[in-house]
């Protein structure tokens, strides 16, 4: 190949680099210091689709939704200064939830750096602690190198967000273009080799276990280790609970699956965490919403912790066996080497907890005798109508917990939510990204009347691009989760949680989005059926019971087995 490419500018090099990384969709918003990149887009003839959002926060949450569904880095392009600072929340969210992102921010010209120029912000300084890697591109010659490195870092190991701060000089400077994918960085080991000694010790513990329990997280999805997890659980006859971000890694009807763990998780896996003799944690990081009071978390159990991020091993919960490696690879080795087990009585013992929860919590929530529609009821109705095949996206708060508890999943990567950071406003744009990533699947957003107003402007993106997101607004006229805490822990002093809502029908109408509202139980299922009868965007405004609480609940400061079933009743064996 002697033929030398003609020189192109850095902005053109960016688009060609993105293409070389297999990017199909980018989310962005133009502005002064990124104009050469948008100018290059106007003459770009490739297949990349640019989605124009209404606010940069919308771009980054959409890219997060896209990344979580595809497993590939979501790409965001914004301008300097406010464009860059508006994506900061999403970057922290992605860092917390291990979401691969490549965020490209415009930056002023080299000569203006540090002069407090118009729309200048110290983006690499600001984003240093909240990115997996960041880099300021100062020369057009470095564009291909920086982009290839960014994608390699974002998607390998424990994925995360990367920021490329793209100076004006680099956007307009001329360069030869040759793209070489990054596959190796000497100071960075994304594929650690699990220690043989640790694997052997884990096998020994698993073979000797009488009451083993597996808790798994999003690491299983990131590693595409769903099949390996099933094989591991089956061979060991090990019951399993999922973190919120691990949801859908196992199908909801998998026989050994016991539900979600944590603050609003299911009773059985939470209570049994305090009874197991060996706890295997796979691709999860013992978030405080999972553990409750740390000293009360499985003190009786020997813990085997498997994670690709060495810094997570032993960070919160001391582990007897620490295995640093890829979830799928480690599970496959353990499954092969362990003798296999049968723990019928132990597995059976989960049922009593589950039955108590069904009677005290689930049935009253999804089959109430009367009164207003309950949030769980709406979620359950969507699960029934979509047969668990929808991608469920949630915002943050009661809608999220209800969405997590009452959705059912038939396929992996079907639950998208803001976990570690708990970002209200995440839901609507994330659902846009999810739908663009999987246009053939129904995407259902559960969102509250608080969260939807935080990024409401993205209805404009849905309108312009015709994105078939199904929005289920669980409307209770409260900031429900905070109201719940005020009721339970702050003496019913409802400080600043009552919300006067706008007319969502008029808002939907203004954006040309189909709107239905439903207040009566009888109207719920027909409305949900109608919503999923086509692929058009739709807003279903469900007027739910106003002062409802998410139960069961491990109150803050309590051990994970100490669960409230109702406002007055605690779980007792």
């Amino acid at each position: 190949m002697d033929q030398k490419d003609q020189k192109i500018n850095g902005s053109q090099a960016l688009w060609r680099s993105l293409e070389a990384e297999g990017v199909h969709t980018v989310f962005g918003y133009p502005g002064g210091q990124i104009m050469p990149v948008y100018d290059a887009l106007s003459t770009y003839s490739g297949d990349i689709r640019h989605i124009l959002v209404r606010h940069e926060q919308g771009a980054i949450h959409a890219a997060q939704g896209y990344a979580r569904v595809t497993g590939e880095p979501g790409v965001v392009i914004v301008t300097s200064g406010p464009g860059a600072t508006n994506v900061v929340t999403g970057i922290v969210d992605a860092m917390s939830d291990s979401t691969p992102l490549v965020v490209i921010t415009g930056q002023v010209a080299l000569a203006a750096l540090g002069t407090d120029a118009f729309q200048e912000a110290d983006v690499t300084g600001l984003t240093g602690p909240i990115t997996k890697w960041n880099y300021q591109i100062r020369r057009a010659e470095d564009v291909a190198w920086a982009v290839s490195r960014a994608f390699y870092v974002a998607r390998s190991g424990r994925p995360g967000p990367v920021v490329l701060d793209f100076t004006k000089d680099a956007q307009t400077g001329l360069t030869d273009f040759q793209y070489k994918k990054c596959t190796f960085i000497r100071s960075y080991i994304p594929d650690p080799e699990p220690s043989e000694a640790a694997l052997d010790e884990a096998v020994r513990l698993l073979d000797a276990a009488e009451r083993p329990l597996c808790v798994f997280g999003q690491g299983v999805l990131i590693s595409h280790a769903e099949a390996q997890l099933q094989a591991f659980l089956r061979k060991g006859d090990i019951p399993a609970g999922s973190t919120m971000l691990g949801l859908s890694a196992l199908p909801s009807d998998f026989p050994l699956y016991q539900g979600m763990i944590g603050m609003h998780g299911n009773v059985a896996p939470n209570v049994k965490t305090g009874e197991c003799d060996v706890l295997v944690a796979v691709g999860m990081r013992f978030d405080d919403r999972v553990t409750g009071k740390v000293s009360g978390y499985a003190p009786q159990a020997k813990v085997i912790h498997i994670d690709i991020d060495r810094a997570e091993l032993g960070k919160i919960i001391p582990a007897q066996v620490r295995i640093c490696g890829d979830a799928g690879q480690v599970l496959a080795v353990l499954t092969e080497r362990m003798a296999g087990g049968s723990h019928t009585a132990w597995v059976e013992s989960f049922r009593a907890c589950a039955e108590t929860e069904r009677e005290k919590v689930i049935d009253p929530q999804i089959h109430p005798a009367g009164g207003a529609i309950r949030m769980g009821e709406a979620v359950d109705c969507v699960a029934a109508v979509t047969e668990g095949k929808a991608i469920v996206v949630t915002d943050v708060g009661q809608n999220q917990m209800m969405g997590a508890r009452y959705s059912r999943f038939a396929r992996p990567r079907s639950f998208i939510s803001s976990g570690g950071l708990g970002t209200m406003g995440f839901g609507l744009p994330a659902a846009i990204g999810a739908k663009l990533a999987a246009s053939e699947r129904p995407v259902c957003l559960f969102v509250g009347d608080g969260g939807i107003q935080m990024t409401l402007q993205e209805l404009g993106t849905i309108m312009q691009e015709g994105i078939g997101v199904k929005i289920v607004l669980l409307n209770n006229n409260w900031l429900g989760n905070v109201r719940q805490w005020q009721e339970l822990f702050f003496g019913c002093r409802y400080s600043q949680t009552r919300m006067l809502n706008p007319d969502y029908g008029k808002i939907a109408d203004a954006y040309g989005i189909r709107y239905r509202s439903v207040e009566d139980r009888a109207g719920l299922e027909p409305a949900v059926r109608e919503m999923f009868s086509d692929d058009a965007p739709c807003l279903l405004d469900v007027r739910v019971m106003e002062e409802d609480n998410v139960m069961p609940m491990v109150p803050p400061g309590r051990s994970v087995g100490e669960m409230m079933l109702t406002e007055k009743e605690w779980y007792r064996k």
């Binding site: 240093g128 997996k132 960075y188």
Partner: protein, 191 residues
């Protein structure tokens, strides 16, 4: 787990990336760990920089911080040591009035006892230099208070591990071998 709070020297080897120093110090400040001293410069390996930070913490906290530092993509390797595990020094400079220093009459004795030396002297002031541990440079500072210290400055700690080789050397050799193995495997595949 040992919960005693000790002095730790954290020695970090990095690729030369702008902004890395801020990210590394952030790992400490975010965990409410004070940085008592910090020095940065070249290491004995070409292209690899060293940052040495002194902090006080329990071993558990320091281990956490070091693992987080190693997660930074451009950090090659980070180590932590207690004082016994390293050879370390600081450099101190003292500016004192020359007339009073000479009036004291015990200059030779002072320099010899403290293993210090004069690096500049003029009619107005004299600059004395001393290397050593903090308590040693502090002792000289207190002794010089008698003649009056006009200015005083102490560097961050620099340290060498007690191992024979630069501890990061082995790691870099392994990574180089890994890179070559991969290249060979790729070329094999392409054939």
């Amino acid at each position: 787990m040992d919960n005693t709070v000790k002095n730790y020297t954290v020695s970090i080897f990095t690729e030369n990336q702008i902004g890395l120093l801020a990210q590394i110090s952030n790992v400490f400040t975010r965990r409410n760990l004070s940085i008592w001293s910090l020095s940065a410069g070249a290491s004995s390996i070409e292209g690899i920089h060293n940052i040495t930070i002194i902090t006080e913490a329990t071993e558990r906290r320091i281990r956490e911080a070091v693992l987080q530092i190693e997660k930074r993509v451009d950090v090659v390797k980070a180590f932590y040591y207690t004082d016994e595990q390293i050879v370390y020094r600081e450099l101190a400079l003292y500016k004192v009035p020359t007339d009073k220093l000479l009036d004291g009459g015990n200059l030779e004795d002072l320099l010899a006892r403290n293993n210090a030396r004069i690096v500049e002297m003029n009619r107005t002031f004299t600059v004395i230099q001393k290397t050593g541990h903090t308590h040693e440079t502090q002792r000289l500072y207190e002794e010089l208070q008698e003649v009056g210290v006009l200015q005083f400055v102490r560097s961050g700690r620099i340290a060498l591990s007690r191992s024979a080789q630069e501890p990061v050397q082995g790691f870099l050799q392994e990574r180089q071998a890994e890179k070559e193995r991969r290249r060979a495997a790729r070329e094999q595949q392409e054939k």
